[in-house]
């Protein structure tokens, strides 16, 4: 039975053609020794049965993947009577690369110029006769999806089977390579080889490891020291034969297509490129990024707080009331009522209340991400980082850190050298993670409700600024050396889809809720117990264990303006998890029932200036335990983990003190 092999690029319509040829008469298995799917089928033409093998879709016939090796081995060793090369007519220049490789193999090739209807729709025209002449192989236009041209293709393929034609690509690789090929072929004459000599010569010059191995194991060639010397010379050569060969193939294709393929117009600038001229502009890029982020934060407050915030606060408060009343009605013990009302609803509820803001923020961020803008933001920052002598790619890990510092620190793995990795790791905690949001939101609601967006923007901006500054200091002190250079690829802009935006939002919010339900719960429970010890003490008083711990720490924060034990305990709890700061404040300020009352209490304890100072402290101070553990793991050093914990605390303290002291001197309160 004659065999026809189908080969083509992915999405060239190869499988559609296979189905059109074989119908239901096909079966699927695996190629021996690999996990690549093997599809085989039969068809009848003029009362004769033909076997069709659908080879894996591939762009090339190198040794880059199993698919490529399977395809090229079948063509070279499977002895198909004819190879149908399915070429996507809308993308002919790219598809013909595979054709040139088939011709190099000396295979009997027939080109199925598929999807010709789509090419016509795009006004792409072909001189098929000349194309066929220049390729030296038949070219048959087909529309496999509509069953058009299939009969003609089959007739041509069958007639080709009987022709005794010596197929060879008429590609000249240049004088140098052509003569090297002849030199290699000289050693291959009359040797027992699995592959054609011409093809082996090309592949050896291309540095194909698979063919190199085959040749190294060939009994006839093993003993030839002279041949080994030639191979070594090729390997050591300063000539980039591989690149030249590939380039010559493209040149061959270009010479053919420029006379046979006619496109309607020249390539025009895309919308993405036009937009990028503004959004990634050397001078405008950064202000535009800042403006976009400011708008995002303003909208977050306008929608999340003004529209949805009150409803959420009332909801939590009402729920707290219902649960508390129920517990009283069923004569629950006082400790349980206190734990639920003060601990859980006061603590966890104070955090959960800010969910509407978080929902809106992550939806807006999702829109930016899905549209492709966030990649531009990374690029814009990349320019600044480079100007500061930092590895621009660090900003990618910094952006990840805005969600959570743990993956932010992990993302530094993609940086090449130790210097870049260490700097990126040490500055990541300054990126304000999502868990810190409720802290800012409480203080903004208490003191700056009219300027929420601007305050939030300033906090994030300060985090980036300190990170860049510390990065610069580290690069000139602890980690000197060159940064590696990389280039960012910017994806095309696209319309954000509701599905992606909602999914992004839900992933973030559900993560936040899970933390609220687990870590915060655990921290709140411990603190609730500490607030009641020793037994008989007034709960949440300065005499409780919690109060004693807080009072011990509080003096440190006096120069920053918030030297009360409650604030100190809040910051202390934040080292376990940042969400715990608000939860703790909710609890310790007399077991507040819900965020609105927490906001009122905070207004009576803090001033606008100490609120700013406290927010700066929480932005910059020691990262959470999970981040410290990750730093230890990533740097493989307890020393660096401890260093991060201490130096971030120091920076935060200095900044908070500066804010308070300078603010006081300027007359702010």
């Amino acid at each position: 039975m004659n065999t026809i092999a189908l080969v083509g690029n992915p999405n060239s319509g190869k499988t559609t053609l296979f189905n059109a040829l074989t119908g239901a008469n096909q079966h699927v298995g695996n190629w021996p020794g690999v996990t690549v799917e093997k599809k085989e089928g039969q068809f009848e033409f003029n009362k004769k049965i033909y076997n069709v093998v659908d080879l894996p879709g591939t762009y090339s016939l190198g040794a880059f993947s199993e698919d490529e090796i399977v395809a090229r081995d079948f063509i070279l060793k499977g002895n198909p009577d004819v190879v149908i090369n399915v070429v996507d007519a809308t993308n002919i220049e790219r598809n013909l690369y595979l054709t040139t490789q088939l011709l190099e193999m000396g295979a009997k090739v027939i080109v199925a110029l598929n999807m010709i209807d789509e090419a016509e729709e795009r006004d792409i025209k072909f001189d098929i006769k000349t194309l066929s002449q220049k390729l030296g192989t038949p070219v048959v236009p087909t529309i496999a999806s509509k069953n058009k041209g299939i009969e003609d293709l089959v007739k041509n393929a069958i007639s080709l089977m009987d022709k005794d034609v010596d197929y060879k690509a008429h590609i000249s690789y240049g004088e140098n390579i052509d003569s090297e090929m002849e030199r290699i072929k000289g050693y291959l004459v009359n040797k027992d080889l699995e592959y054609p000599a011409n093809w082996i010569a090309i592949k050896l010059l291309e540095g194909d490891q698979y063919v190199n191995q085959v040749i190294a194991n060939n009994e006839d060639l093993k003993s030839s020291n002279e041949f080994k010397k030639v191979l070594q010379e090729i390997q050591d050569s300063v000539n980039n034969y591989d690149l030249e060969i590939v380039d010559k193939r493209y040149e061959f294709i270009n010479n053919i297509t420029k006379k046979t393929v006619f496109r309607p117009s020249e390539i025009v600038e895309t919308k993405t490129d036009k937009i990028d001229k503004i959004l990634t502009h050397k001078y405008l890029g950064l202000p535009i990024f800042a403006l976009i982020m400011l708008i995002v934060f303003q909208l977050t407050f306008a929608i999340g707080e003004d529209v949805l915030g009150e409803a959420a606060a009332s909801g939590i408060e009402a729920l707290g009331g219902i649960i508390e009343n129920y517990l009283i009605s069923v004569n629950s013990p006082d400790w349980l009522i206190s734990f639920i009302a003060d601990g859980l609803i006061g603590g966890v509820g104070a955090v959960v209340e800010f969910i509407p803001l978080i929902v809106v923020l992550y939806m807006l961020m999702g829109i930016l991400e899905d549209s492709g803008y966030m990649a531009r933001a990374a690029y814009v920052m990349d320019n600044i980082m480079r100007a500061l002598g930092l590895q621009g790619k660090t900003f990618i890990s910094m952006i990840v850190g805005f969600g959570c510092n743990v993956p932010g620190v992990m993302a530094t793995r993609t940086l090449d050298n130790r210097k870049d990795r260490m700097i990126a790791t040490l500055i990541n905690p300054f990126m304000s993670c999502g868990a810190k949001l409720p802290i800012y939101l409480v203080f903004i609601a208490a003191f700056f409700p009219e300027h929420g967006g601007l305050v939030l923007f300033s906090i994030y901006f300060l985090g980036i600024l300190i990170a860049l500054l510390m990065g610069k200091i580290f690069s000139e002190t602890l980690f000197k050396g060159e940064s590696s250079y990389f280039i960012m690829e910017l994806p095309p802009y696209r319309k954000p889809t509701l599905r992606n935006v909602l999914r992004n939002m839900w992933d973030n919010v559900s993560g936040f809720l899970k933390r609220a339900g687990t870590t915060i719960f655990a921290v709140v429970t411990i603190l609730w117990i500490l607030a009641r010890l020793p037994l008989g003490v007034e709960p949440y008083s300065q005499g409780s264990v919690l109060g004693i711990i807080g009072s011990f720490i509080a003096p440190i924060f006096k120069p920053a303006g918030f030297g009360n034990w409650q604030a100190a305990v809040g910051l202390f709890a934040g080292i376990a998890a940042k969400e715990a700061v608000v939860a703790t404040l909710g609890m310790v300020y007399a077991g507040v029932e819900g965020g609105v009352e927490l906001v009122n209490t905070i207004q009576s304890v803090f001033t606008p200036l100490t609120a700013v100072s406290f927010m700066v402290m929480t932005l910059l101070y020691t990262p959470c335990a999970a981040t410290i553990a990750t730093i230890k793991k990533e740097t493989n050093s307890s020393k660096w983990a401890l260093f991060t914990a201490v130096y971030t605390f120091f920076i935060a303290w200095v900044m908070a003190v500066l804010v308070f002291q300078i603010g006081s001197l300027l007359g702010f309160s």
């Binding site: 992990m410 993302a411 993609t414 090449d416 990389f486 280039i487 960012m488 910017l490 992933d507 993560g511």
Partner: protein, 86 residues
């Protein structure tokens, strides 16, 4: 085409395949193919920024949002730099 492409990559601030296609007067698909060829031959390397967080994410509540930053980066390798220097 490939050396020209490598020069364009070297001289670009960022990679826009459509921009390079205009400069080299080639279809974008061919430029994409050129990138793949350069990667295959080791003149440039494409870096995976999305899979750096692959440990103990299962228990992390933020696992689904971990490293979603859709930025692809490339680097000209030593082999590529050598070619450009010649």
């Amino acid at each position: 085409m490939l050396k020209e492409l490598l020069v364009e990559i070297k001289n670009s601030n960022y990679i826009s395949k459509s921009n390079i296609a205009i400069k080299l007067n080639k279809p974008v698909e061919l430029i994409e193919d050129g990138f793949q060829q350069l990667i295959r031959m080791g003149y440039i390397s494409e870096e995976d920024n999305l899979n750096s967080c692959n440990s103990y994410c299962g228990s992390c509540p933020y696992a689904k949002t971990c490293n979603k930053m859709p930025v692809k980066t490339m680097k000209i390798t030593e082999k590529g730099e050598k070619l450009l220097a010649n």
